[in-house]
């Protein structure tokens, strides 16, 4: 699974951090950091986070991650 967050759209509502705290993280009050290729066991949480984003800034590529099988590798946390 791969995700991209449009950080120009992100306004720091932090819904994604609540719903997938192992994938998204706040630095200070508003700056967002995230794992671009979260492990597969986070998929349901990531889906919740993407749906909840009030400015729809999170893009999820289910297929890309599932097919290439490189889910956990790029989790830099």
């Amino acid at each position: 699974m791969q995700i991209v967050v449009d950080l120009n759209r992100c306004q720091g509502y932090a819904q994604c951090v609540f719903l997938a705290p192992r994938v998204f993280e706040l630095h200070g009050e508003e700056a967002l950091r995230y794992a671009p290729a979260p492990p597969d066991d986070q998929a349901e949480r990531v889906r919740r986070a993407a749906a909840a984003c009030p400015v729809q800034a999170i893009l999820v590529g289910d297929r890309a991650g599932a097919e290439s099988g490189k889910g956990a590798a790029a989790d830099d946390r």
């Binding site: 951090v17 706040l26 889906r47 749906a51 729809q56």
Partner: protein, 413 residues
């Protein structure tokens, strides 16, 4: 009656089951002054701009009408929902510390298993019955159990809290009537009693901490120091009321919508991974908070070509903006897979719903469990009887005929 203003018609209980034609009228007519001097805004882009406009206050003490100011000046000061930055920001940040990021990012995620368990137990209670009241048997006890557990409020005190909450909610209602003043007085008294109860509970946690948000609030103060006692009282009262009241309506409106739309219901049964997006669509299509009635311009402002004077009551009609065809394609259609869904179900801007992530998770877990376990659910009455409030809108009861099956494997994740 043609001389009634839109606001009067929206407030009229006769329109509670379906206010959406009135909202369409509102969008067509644009921003309009009502007989009582208030202004309604119901188009998406105008509501969006006002939600982000620092000239718009959430503090009704900025209203010109002395009665409005007087009604709110008795009793405790307002909580952070009803004050402006920088005070709002400070109080909200301190309340967020034990609830969410950046300080407590895992608090809501950690509740997931408990939510699944509570929903499952409530549904277990339906077995052997062929008719349930979704409100009393499920949609009310679920969020109440959750907020009590989260804050650390003893479950046995809930009847008293329910009575106070009902009185406070009734006092928000500005529909015309001779009892308005009495309702507000009763609301002020109930809010004060509730705040005193929660203040005493916080005192007990101060002496004897537990693993709950109240204990964290009184013990784990950040660099800005702890909330003052009265701030703690108003904040806890707000969290307690807002923490369950609206979720009842979200779950009930959700089930009602799905029972009216069998295709969507079947689709969600087949594709449960659509639930997060379906809940967003519910928040757009049937938002539990229909309007924000507490906004006031701090200076004369122009909205949609109309001047709204400083101090006038300004109603932001969220449920109307959510159905604006200039923003949403086919807005009166419920589409559980809708994309491009930047709805105002939780408001927007600095006052956007504090508890949104909890409400989202509760609704997703609740609706998923109901769809999985209720067999052949049918509405007994459509429309169902509604609660009185035009602001916090939802059914008072929702009778459903169904049978209940055992849960094979509750979807832990």
């Amino acid at each position: 009656m043609s001389t009634e203003t839109l606001l009067e018609r929206i407030n009229d209980y006769a329109h509670r089951a379906d206010p959406y034609p009135l909202y369409a009228e509102l969008r067509e007519h644009g921003v309009a002054r009502q007989n009582d001097g208030s202004f309604l805004v119901g188009t998406y882009h105008e509501v969006a701009a006002l939600l982000h406009d620092p000239r718009i206050s959430s503090d009704v003490r900025h209203r010109t009408d002395p009665d409005e100011v007087r009604a709110r000046s008795d009793g405790l000061p307002p909580s952070f929902i009803a004050v402006d930055d920088p005070e709002h920001d400070r109080l909200r940040r301190l309340a967020m510390r034990p609830f969410g990021p950046p300080h407590s990012p895992g608090r809501i995620d950690a509740l997931h298993g408990a939510l699944v368990g509570i929903a499952g137990e409530l549904i277990d209670g339906f077995r052997g019955r062929d008719r349930i009241d979704l409100v009393d048997d499920f949609a009310y006890p679920l969020p109440v159990t959750v907020i009590c557990r989260l804050l650390g409020v003893p479950r046995e005190d809930m009847p008293a809290l329910r009575a106070w909450t009902d009185t406070v909610i009734a006092s928000l209602d500005r529909s015309p009537g001779e009892e308005t003043w009495e309702r507000q007085q009763a609301g002020t008294a109930a809010r004060t009693e509730m705040a005193e109860y929660l203040g005493e509970l916080a005192d007990r946690r101060r002496a004897d901490p537990a693993d709950d948000m109240i204990s964290a609030l009184v013990h784990d103060a950040g660099p800005e120091g702890p909330l003052a006692r009265w701030e703690l009282m108003t904040t806890l009262t707000l969290l307690m009321i807002a923490g369950h009241e609206t979720t009842v309506n979200l779950i009930t409106n959700g089930m009602l919508t799905l029972l009216r739309q069998p295709d969507a219901l079947e689709r969600l049964r087949r594709e449960p991974e659509l639930m997060p997006s379906a809940v967003e669509e519910l928040l757009r299509y049937e938002p539990p908070v229909q309007m924000l009635p507490q906004r006031t311009p701090l200076t004369d402002i122009e909205v949609g070509g109309v001047t709204v004077p400083r101090g006038a009551p300004l109603y932001l009609m969220l449920a109307s903006a959510n159905r604006d065809p200039l923003r949403f394609e086919d807005p009166d259609r419920f589409d559980p897979a809708r994309r491009d869904n930047e709805h105002f179900g939780f408001g927007s801007g600095v006052h956007s719903c504090f508890g949104a992530p909890l409400a989202r998770l509760e609704a997703q877990v609740a609706l998923a469990a109901l769809l999985r376990r209720l067999e052949g659910p049918r509405l007994v009455a459509d429309p169902p009887p509604y609660r009185h409030s035009p602001i916090l809108r939802g059914p008072r009861h929702l009778l459903i005929d169904c049978t209940t099956k055992d849960d094979g494997a509750p979807g832990e994740s």
